[in-house]
Amino acid sequence: MMEYLDQFAAFLSVYPAKLPQWEGVLIRAIKTTLIVTAGSFAVALVIGVLLALARLSKNALLRGIARFYIEIARGVPALVILFLLYFGLPPLGIVMDAVPTAILGLGLSTGGYVAEIIRAGIEATHKGQREAGLTIGMSSWQINRYIILPQAARISLPSLMNTLITVLKDSSLASLITAPELMLRAKAISSTDFLPMHILLLVGAIYLCLAIPLSQLSRLLERRMFSKLGNRM
């Protein structure tokens, strides 16, 4: 027992020596991770709302395109899309930096999921509510704005927060196309300092520190949205 404790203490004793050395690199890497996460989530939201509206539109061509897109996004790994954009496009004359490529690729891949979440939210509101809006003289824009989308947002919010957490985790894939985020730095440090377990556990802890508050926030928002939404018209 004591022996294990000693080993554990020895393991931990590395950190005080190494942390000051890693700190600057890791903080910059965290920033990049957050940029990739926020950027690709924003791209995914825009694509998702557009696709959801397209899927519910009266135009059969738009519906078909949306279905096709969602089907592909559901079946192809995000990493393959990243490789396709980062390694496949330059020979065709299109060159992008790693971070924008990661934002675009993860956004494109997540957009399909977001579309399905938002569509489910819109469909969950009863058609009679739309009609009730018509009878009080609302335009369809007003109905979407004051009746359908607030409810769709409330219904989709927990799922969207979970998607945000997934995007945060998926941002680690950007390291494989050399975007200088947490995992890339972790790999670099582990090969220069020969301390893979130390740096990987530390980076893992950083991801948890970012993800767990998000999942708490999601629960909090879910409760708040429910009681406060009416005052936010």
Binding site: V80, L84, L176, S190, P196, M197, V203, L208, A211, S215
Partner: protein
């Protein structure tokens, strides 16, 4: 036309290599799926015993392994464990890494499946003299499994896609072969498009099956 024929021959020769990788992808998927479902079932059932410290441990496991990126887990299994003297080959490292994170998902899937059943079912089983063990085995689990089929199917689709990450620890699956192939032939765009198609071919039937299950469930409600 000639160009088109050339495209065809190139695709055929790439596919020959990629399909070998597909075999490995399937192996990783099956291995980690079995591991994840086993972990999930055991932990979800163990949770129902309501032993406080045990439940706390399970909650920590779920929260931690769902919050970690798959890539981080794989690196820990492949590079990190060397620190404690464990040297895993790429394939087992990928299966264990994906299995551990999948186990956390499956625990949640089975937990909600079990809790979706009315507690009256348990009481009814007790009323006809079943032990809690037998009630779980013959009454609760069979129903819970049926409820959890669609989310399990979705998990399996996600898992097939996640195996692509194993290329980063040099497991010779589709994407790993694709990377080598593209550095040899510089035919990058075509190779990755073929890879995308291969993944679609693997996930598409599963996706249809899940949609079918969900439609059936909706019609049933």
């Amino acid at each position: 036309m000639e160009q088109f024929g050339d495209l065809f021959t190139r695709s055929a020769s790439h596919l020959e290599v990629l399909l070998q990788g597909a075999g490995v992808t399937v192996m990783i998927t099956l291995g980690s799926f079995v591991m994840a479902v086993t972990i999930g079932l055991v932990l979800a059932v163990a949770r129902t015993w309501k032993i406080r410290p045990l439940n706390a441990l399970i909650a920590i496991y779920v929260e931690v392994f769902r919050g970690l990126p798959t890539l981080t887990l794989l690196f820990i299994c492949y590079f990190g464990l060397t620190y404690v003297g464990i040297k895993l080959n790429p394939l087992p490292a990928a299966i264990i890494g994906l299995g551990l994170s999948g186990g956390a998902y499956c625990t949640e899937i089975f937990r909600s499946g079990i809790s979706a059943l009315h507690h009256g079912q348990r009481e009814a089983a007790a009323a006809i003299g079943m032990t809690p063990m037998r009630a779980m085995r013959f009454v609760i689990l069979p129903q819970a499994l049926r409820i959890t089929l669609p989310p399990l199917g979705n998990y399996a689709i996600g898992l097939i896609k996640d195996t692509a990450v194993a290329s980063a620890v040099a497991a010779p699956e589709i994407l790993f072969r694709a990377r080598n192939l593209s550095t040899e032939t510089f035919d990058t765009a075509l190779i990755y498009l073929l890879v995308a198609v291969l993944y679609l071919v693997m996930t598409f039937p599963l996706a249809r099956w899940v949609d079918h299950l969900e439609k059936k469930r909706k019609a049933w409600q």
